[in-house]
Amino acid sequence: MTTRVDAGLSPQLSPQPSPLARKGGLKAHERRIGRLFLLPALAAFTLVILYPFLRAIGYAFTRSNLQTPEPVYIGIANFVSILGSPEILGAFVTTAIYVVFATSGTVILGLGWALILNQPFAGRSALRALTLIPWVLPSTVTAFIWGWIFNSRFGVLNAVLVSAGIIPFPTAWLSTTSGAMAAIVMTKIWFSIPLFMSFFLAGLQSLDKEQIDAARVDGANNFALLRDHILPHLRPVLLVVVVLGVIGNLQQFDTIFALTGGGPVSATSVLSIQVYRLAFDQWDIGMASALGLLWVATILPAAYFYLRHLLKGA
């Protein structure tokens, strides 16, 4: 089909039309081709993203579980049950804690690391490249690494803390409520620093050198420079990074599942884990979808900023 449309306009096949007609035809032709190029992606998008999402909206208003395999419409009953379940509501709090600590931790360390890698020193580009490693590792590997570090009996963290006298005896980090949360947050910060650092570094590289030199001549020290010039310049980048971080952290699943499985009990059961449990442990598709929609609602504010930023000038 594409070749036919194409041939219609190729000069050897069409008689020489007037320049004006050709122009109008070209515009229409261009629009057709533009849509044609979009078609495969749009079809795939509809099949694996849009249709499943719409279907999930449908499920959210039905009873659909192991006892009732054929979905039955029950209105907002699933949402009412969610509001009445302290365990499920707890997932929102757990998620909020996780997102706040993981995002702020990554922003601070990512910015610090970008400032360091922005200084000239020997081996800098090698270090920049190596920094990406935590980001590209498979989730299971990341979980293994940190599970081994946090191991209650042979973990290096306990060994260091005990020998430094910070804790009297080894702790089973992943079996305590706050220890498990600290572990999943640290893991997330660890493998998100590279991406955040890259954003900050790109921002720092677009900083006006002359402006910095002028501030130096005026007697600004490092702190003043950071406060008055570098951080204001990084503000737009910071916004993008925070928004991306919040979206990513709200959705994080793999490393949490592999490291703690949501436990102990439900101490690290963030929304992603809770939805997964409802759907694939209990096969309560109705409840899982309803909670999933509320989960989407928590992402929407950040998503709005993100999309507005991306579509600037489109």
């Binding site: 070749t3 194409d6 070209l26 261009e30 629009r31 533009g34 849509r35 190029f37 495969p40 992606a41 749009l42 998008f45 694996v48 849009l50 249709y51 499943p52 999402f53 499920y59 610090g112 400032l115 200084q119 490693i133 935590p134 590209v136 590792l137 498979p138 299971t140 590997v141 979980a143 293994f144 081994w148 042979f154 660890w190 620093i193 890259s198 954003f199 790109a202 900083l207 980048v237 993008v240 959705q251 699943f253 793999d254 592999a258 992603s272 997964y276 759907a279 694939f280 598709i285 899982a288 979808s289 999933g292 989960w295 989407v296 992402i299 950040a302 998503a303 999309l307 579509l311 489109a314």
Partner: protein
């Protein structure tokens, strides 16, 4: 940019650099050396800082037990096909968004990009019956198709922002010469876009290779398992976990992705941050 001429500023800079550097790189060091420690050295309350008696036994068990080789093969097959499929879909869509003007263009863009905010976990709930209806549950093609979810929106955007920078004059000139749109794209635009193609391919590859959620849910048979869930089941599902084996298998599973990035990281970072940082 920072002035490190005073002793104090050098000290603060050095201390922060070492602290963050340790946090970033010590875990990787620990993973690597743990894979080479014999069990007697691995399971000690006070660990050794480097393997005093390095052995390869964990690698032997890693390849011996489970189906690490099979899983690596499955992962490679799925990740390469998913990355190729994703690149193919995104490259045309990104070009369409960047260089054509038609009604509904912006709306479709918003739609496609907003997909990034749907949690993968939520989509999985209803993707599961869709994949089942297609007869693709518990199959590598089914997993491949599902991975479009992860990478397509961002990939399309990466191509869009790359193609937006390709001067329209080249395209106009080719049109004036009577070249067809497909030919213009394939012989003029695509050849100068190799960096973007490589970046997007890698991006798709990385998501598929590193995924756990979809791989463990959509694949049920042992023989079709990919490396992520495969390792998880093989090493942490027992009463006595084999950490040495887990570390060795981890090194093996990470090698392909680290090697690829070692060569292409510069392009990759430019591609991923492009358009998001002005």
């Amino acid at each position: 940019m920072l002035d490190l001429s005073s002793r104090f500023s050098r000290f603060v800079f050095g201390a922060v650099a070492i602290a963050i550097g340790l946090f970033l790189f010590f875990p990787i060091y620990w993973l690597t050396i743990s894979a080479f420690k014999p069990d007697a050295e691995l399971y000690r309350i006070v660990p050794t800082l480097y393997p005093h008696d390095p052995v390869l036994t964990h690698f032997a068990t890693a390849f011996g037990r489970g189906n690490l080789m099979q899983q690596l093969k499955n992962s490679l097959l799925v990740s390469c096909s998913a990355a190729a499929l994703n690149t193919l879909l995104a490259v045309y869509a990104g070009y369409s968004f960047a260089k054509f003007r038609y009604r509904g263009r912006r709306l479709v863009m918003v739609f496609l990009l907003s997909a990034q905010v749907f949690p993968f976990g939520l989509l999985l709930i209803s993707l599961y019956p869709v994949i089942t209806d297609l007869g693709l549950i518990d199959s590598l093609p089914g997993l491949t198709v599902s991975y479009i979810v992860f990478a397509l929106p961002v990939s399309t955007y990466m191509f869009y922002s790359y193609f937006s920078q390709v001067p329209s004059e080249i395209i106009e000139a080719a049109r004036a010469d009577g070249a067809g749109e497909l030919r213009i794209f394939h012989t003029i635009v695509l050849p100068v876009s190799i960096p973007a193609v490589v970046t997007v391919f890698l991006y798709g590859f990385m998501w598929s290779w590193n995924d756990l959620l979809y791989a463990m849910t959509l694949i049920i048979s042992e023989g079709k398992r990919t490396v992520g869930p495969g390792m998880l089941l093989a090493y942490l599902n027992e009463v006595n976990s084999d950490w040495g084996g887990a570390m060795a298998a981890s090194l093996v599973a990470s090698a392909p992705i680290i090697c690829t990035f070692a060569f292409l990281q510069r392009w990759f970072i430019q591609g991923v941050t492009a358009g998001s940082v002005k």
